[in-house]
Assembly symmetry: none
Homo-oligomer: 216 residues x 4
DNA sequence: AATGAATGAGTATTCATTCAT
DNA sequence: TATGAATGAATACTCATTCAT
């Protein structure tokens, strides 16, 4: 019973998680049987339970990975010189280009988060992490004089999250939905929230394809 | 000749739907057994199937009710003299005051809509209905000169839906989330989208260079 | 609560029995629901139980009718001057022309007779009745010198029944089975069992399309 | 690596089939629940479905076995020097000594064959197999000059089947039925059908004019 | 570490029958 | 007499998880 060395162990877990993600995205959490996952991962049921403690544990694992991925994405935003440009990039990647499969998975996880406290905790941790990251980014930008000093970072971060979630959900539910048409408007709204942009930046012109409204 | 008169019939259906809503919100669609629903409704399994054809049929019924309720709510907005005031009222009712139970139910239905085409159809029908309703409201307002004639109704309707969905989801996932703080900002964003035209300006450039909205 | 006059009562029973026969033949006893029968008969479930005490009771009723019908058929054979001619006619009617629906019904009843003693009793009563009838017919014929006096009526009656049952079953099971080819041979076999036929009778020539066996 | 070796696998299937045969014979297909079968076989429901795909699949399995057994029995007839003696043996075994339980099972399967195409196919395959086997046996015998060359093998094979089915059915339905009394007569009938050629005669006429078998 | 056969509680739905009207 | 809504036990099959090997 010599334990598998850590890297193999981790690799096996990742492999199973991949399989589970595909299955859940394809068929949903409840319609996916453990057999499905084991078959997809090429692993025996017995082996599965060496790496995960239960079917629900898989969702925790998926959340964990999501969190790591998001952390990287947000870190890259932090390093970007232009907040709006980085945000635009993020929106592009996460709301428009993310394969629909992922969106479905997300929805599935959200639903599961309602019943399973552990998963709920995981999901909220991710959301908090994202919100806090945005807050920090906004504070930094404010400190550097790049955004309106009167803007409330916490609220703006929330709004950004809300817009992201809304876009995500819409795309998931409606295969016909065209996010590209909305994105520029959304970006301009956020832009209007965080205040004056340094002129000559590419994003303001680029992102906005609709006529923005004059705000009182 | 007893043949249940139509109103009793309908009342019984509504009663069962109420029970199902509670169960689904509490435990989720898949974790709720027919026995659970029957117990909650005080109805025998046999009787249940006199009113609904299957477990899934319940979701269709729930969607139907939702649609009717939304239609009424949106009709009242249509009659309101002030679009933004009415929208604010709607946001208050649907995004802030709606009991969390409903939010959870919503999430559950969304997840189910991904796998079950019939339910997906139902859900999309509701979403389309809402979007179209907003479009019509905006067109009316435009016709009456109350909003910026250059605003694209379809896109704005989408954005409103997205914001609504996002708020809804956020509240569902995070019991601590305080929608009240965000709502005014969100309303002002929408207001800025439909707001009165600034005369004589090529608006796209203009809008982005004006002062951002002051968030109270 | 004045009881329905006897004839209406009986007519209603017959009507329901017809419906049940169709249903059982079409779908089998177990796959037919009471609702099916009630729908087919245009009768409410409640009403059904005024005329029959249970689903199984229907089979008893069907047997009863069968018995009556067979009694008539056999009576006509008894009156026929030529036993073989009458038998040939009987075979034609019961084994070749009987609609397949009836055959299926028969099979269904046989299967049910195995489990339900009451039905078993009914079925055996019919079979005994048929056998006894044949015995009597044979005895009569023997008394009139029309058949071989050494033939054992009981055994021959059995053999006739066995051949009839076999034909019946075969036709029921195999839609392609062509009874017409076998019938003459079967008749000639029976003919050979009961001994010399009075010459000049039409039947020997008619019924037998194969060359009949000469019985000593 | 435990992966059940083929023989154990097969043995388990046989064991379950035995249990199912008993149950079906005792209670009929429809009145037997999967629990009944599992209890009788000492197997969990889950395990059952490792060996069979459905309740109906059991009947296919039973047919399969029947076919194999029949094939062996018929093969032994083929090797016998005396066709009639072999047939007599077969009749003894299959129609007289077969335990009544088997007969009931048979009846049950026949009834089921009427509604379920897959089972119907199975049953017809067996019947065809038997008929074809008899045809071949008769042809062989004819080639060896043992039977009347004018006899039509196909028809005689049919008649044999019909007699067998009839006997079978009769025994199943009537516990009092004494097949022993009929068997010799039946055999003599068959014998008269295939009987030795009278030389120099146009046999069809001849065969039928020979002495009938003396029934003891 | 890994296997995969086995478990057995759990599920949606049906249906013969009853009974208030 | 007749209705048909209501009952609730029963059923075939699934699936997360375990455990002997």
């Amino acid at each position: 019973m010599p334990k598998l060395d850590e890297t193999t162990q981790r690799a096996r877990r990742e492999h199973i998680l991949d399989a589970a993600e595909h299955c859940f995205a394809r068929e949903g959490f409840h319609r996916t049987s453990m057999q499905d996952i084991c078959r997809e991962a090429g692993v025996s049921p017995g082996a599965f339970y060496l790496y995960f403690s239960s079917k629900e544990d898989l969702i925790a694992g998926i959340c964990e990975r999501e969190k790591t991925a998001l952390a990287q994405a947000l870190a890259s935003v932090a390093e970007a010189p232009d907040f709006m440009a980085a945000l635009s990039q993020l929106g592009q990647t996460y709301c428009l280009e993310e394969p629909r499969e992922k969106l479905r998975l997300h929805l599935e996880i959200n639903a599961e988060a309602m019943r399973n406290p552990a998963i709920g905790h995981n999901v909220r941790a991710i959301d908090d992490f994202v919100a806090k990251s945005f807050e920090r980014l906004l504070s930094d930008a404010k400190a550097k004089g790049r955004i309106n000093p009167s803007a409330d970072e916490a609220t703006i971060a929330q709004i950004i999250s809300i817009l992201g979630d809304g876009l995500y959900l819409r795309r998931a539910l409606d295969p016909e939905f065209d996010g590209k048409a909305c994105m520029p408007v959304i970006l301009s709204l956020i832009s209007s929230l965080i205040g004056p942009v340094a002129e000559g930046t590419e994003n303001s012109d680029k992102a906005l394809k609709t006529d923005p409204v004059q705000v009182e």
